[in-house]
């Protein structure tokens, strides 16, 4: 039920948006270059996507009084570093950054590892119940996480894990999407002959995974790792429930806490929001192309 419809060339490099588009000569006579209207529409959407982010930085560089005036500020003021400094200290952001890095790093690494071995089994090994199990994996993507928060919360409360990071990490160690993603990738990226050759040489299954599967899957593992890191970094509901906003927060919980204080200083809130977003925007600026390619690859299914 899930045939691969991705581009025919094997993905040896990290899947990226193809640079060379198929010729479109047959379509309505022409190369199907985007006309000026296409560029106008794209410019509007790009502006809409980026403006709130830029404006966060503008607002974070002003003071509260200036934000309570019309017209709103359109250019940077001089308070940026002062505000960042205060927000950093007020919201315990240093600790929040460490916490979020631990949470997102552990989750992403575990998800990548578990998804690769499971994806390998589903892609390349024959065993009884394989089809049914894969259906269950896909089915779990449809179960909304919000449905399990009450028992999980009771569990965490009973174990006295409130405010502790393992309460956030443990439920986020699995990803059905990850298994599906690695399976799709390995079906085409890992030729059966290599596995057979390793088998003939007497390699055990673990050796095959270690010496054949992991090297072959490395590009996809990197992309999945980034996707999962972004996702866990931005998780809000569950950390918000189990972590306090000042004692031991993740970045998102700390930023939300800034907005829910009783004397809201908007420029400080914006400084916190900016700090909470900046690391991921940097990741995007550097690896954006790979992440885009990864989402596009994971999306294609039949």
């Amino acid at each position: 039920m899930t045939t691969t419809l991705t581009k025919p060339e094997p993905h040896d490099a990290a899947p990226t948006a193809p640079r060379v588009r198929r010729p479109r000569s047959a379509r309505a006579g022409g190369q199907m270059h985007g006309g000026p209207i296409a560029y106008v529409i794209l410019a509007v959407f790009t502006f809409g996507s980026l403006f709130p982010l830029v404006w966060t930085a503008i607002a974070a560089s002003r003071d509260n009084q200036r934000l309570a005036q019309t017209p709103p500020p359109f250019w940077f003021g001089s308070n940026l570093f002062k505000n960042l400094d205060i927000a950093w200290n007020d919201a315990n952001l240093g600790k929040a950054f460490v916490n979020t890095t631990i949470v997102a790093g552990t989750s992403a690494a575990t998800i990548v590892f578990l998804s690769t071995i499971a994806g390998f089994a589903f892609a390349k090994l024959r065993f009884r119940g394989r089809g049914a199990m894969m259906l269950i994996v896909i089915g779990t993507m449809m179960v909304p996480p919000q449905l399990s928060i009450i028992p999980l919360y009771m569990m965490v409360a009973k174990l006295e894990w409130t405010d502790q990071l393992q309460a956030v990490i443990l439920p986020s160690l699995v990803s059905a999407f990850g298994v599906f993603f690695m399976r799709q990738y390995l079906i085409q990226a890992l030729p059966d002959e290599i596995i057979e050759a390793a088998r003939v040489d007497g390699a055990s299954s673990w050796r095959v995974v270690w010496h054949v599967v992991f090297p072959a899957a490395r590009p996809a593992m990197a992309v999945l790792g980034m996707l999962m890191f972004v996702q866990t970094w931005n998780d809000f509901l569950w950390p918000f429930l189990v972590l306090s906003q000042t004692g031991n927060p993740t970045v998102q919980v700390a930023v939300a806490g800034l907005g829910r204080g009783y004397t809201p200083d908007q420029s400080l809130i914006m400084a916190g929001a900016l700090l909470g977003t900046l690391p991921l925007l940097l990741v995007f600026a550097i690896f954006g192309k790979q992440i885009v390619g990864g989402i596009m690859q994971g999306a294609v299914k039949g």
Partner: protein, 335 residues
């Protein structure tokens, strides 16, 4: 146990030596091979299960078990103060919430916010994907730029939009004023506030969905377009008669995922609330089911009732899933 080991790796010593070697070494060698072979067979047979079992074990512990336990808890009176004291009350939690006007209000809000956020989002994503599928200068730049909101957290995005949608000094009202529209109270009026909450969702997810559609569009075989063009189909007709039908599975997928997402909306309305509560505005004008669940469970401390809300949401999703399935089968049958 037989000693032939066709599936075993070739022994290091090579095949059996010709002639007749002494009896004892053969025996030892045969035993060694048999042992290796057994281990080999076991490895081949069981390692697939070893590879998939961590996923299923974790899913059982943190997905399936809590889901069932939520159903069980929904039939009990459970208070946050003493989560281990469970008193059987049957379906009373369900009748209680169904009698609660705020439940129906939250259900309606979830539906309207879901529609206002999902429909324009997916339509825009489709249009964007179509444009991005053209030959363009700097196409990677647009893709990355459109995905940037996806990297922004719910918390940061909601707080920024609270300011942009501010009644007195917000940039959106300022822009409306500049074109002669009187200011809108985005926080306290019902429809404006729902539109504002939906805007946050649309902003974060449109680019992501556009990429999913784009990926599916690029997988459509080119000859379909070529033959359509030969038959004299215009670009517009090609879009409707080639692109859209080919995207049907992807569209269905995004609709299902967006529906699940829309049923859970929580952070955006929580942080959009000026009163810092979980009521979704002073008049509950944008309280969603997710927020109502949080209010019942964590503010009012009725975990049993919160569980009943969770299971009601689950049942609604199952119904939507079945409807989706039936519609997609109808569509497939009719084409």
């Amino acid at each position: 146990m037989s000693t032939h080991d066709t599936a075993a790796p070739p022994a290091k010593e090579g095949g059996a030596a010709p002639g007749r070697p002494p009896a004892a070494p053969v025996d030892a060698e045969a035993r060694r091979r048999a042992r290796l072979s057994r281990r080999w067979q076991r490895d081949i047979r069981w390692s697939p299960y070893a590879f998939v079992s961590p996923f299923f074990l974790l899913f059982l512990a943190f997905g399936l078990f809590p889901l069932i336990y939520t159903g069980w808890a929904s039939l009990h009176q459970v208070e946050m103060t003493a989560p281990t004291d469970m008193n059987w009350v049957g379906l009373r939690n369900y009748t209680r919430i169904f009698d609660d006007d705020f439940f129906w209000n939250a259900a309606r809000n979830t539906l309207t916010i879901g529609v206002i956020s999902t429909v324009p989002q997916l339509l825009m994503a489709m249009g964007l994907a179509h444009i991005l599928n053209y030959r363009l200068r700097a196409s990677t730049f647009y893709r990355v730029a459109m995905l940037a909101p996806y990297a922004t957290s719910i918390a940061a995005a909601s707080l920024v939009f609270v300011l942009l949608f501010g009644r007195d000094y917000g940039m959106i009202n300022w822009a409306l004023d500049a074109v002669g529209v009187s200011p809108v109270d985005w926080q306290n009026d019902k429809w404006p506030s729902q539109i504002a909450v939906s805007t946050i969702i649309i902003w974060r997810w449109t680019g992501y969905n556009a990429l999913i559609y784009l990926a599916a569009m690029q997988a459509i075989p080119q000859d379909l377009y070529e033959s359509a063009a030969l038959d004299g189909a215009s670009r517009w007709q090609q879009f409707f008669h080639v692109t859209l039908p080919s995207l049907r599975p992807t569209i269905l997928f995004t609709v299902v995922v967006s529906t699940i997402g829309a049923s859970q909306v929580f952070g955006e309305p929580l942080l959009f609330d000026a009163n810092k509560g979980a009521s979704g505005g002073a008049e509950h004008q944008f309280q969603t089911l997710g927020l109502y669940l949080y209010e019942q469970g964590w503010i009012n401390q009725h975990l049993g009732r919160a569980s009943a809300i969770a299971w009601t949401m689950f049942l609604i999703l199952i119904v939507i899933g079945i409807v989706n399935y039936v519609i997609s089968r109808r569509l497939r049958a009719s084409s």
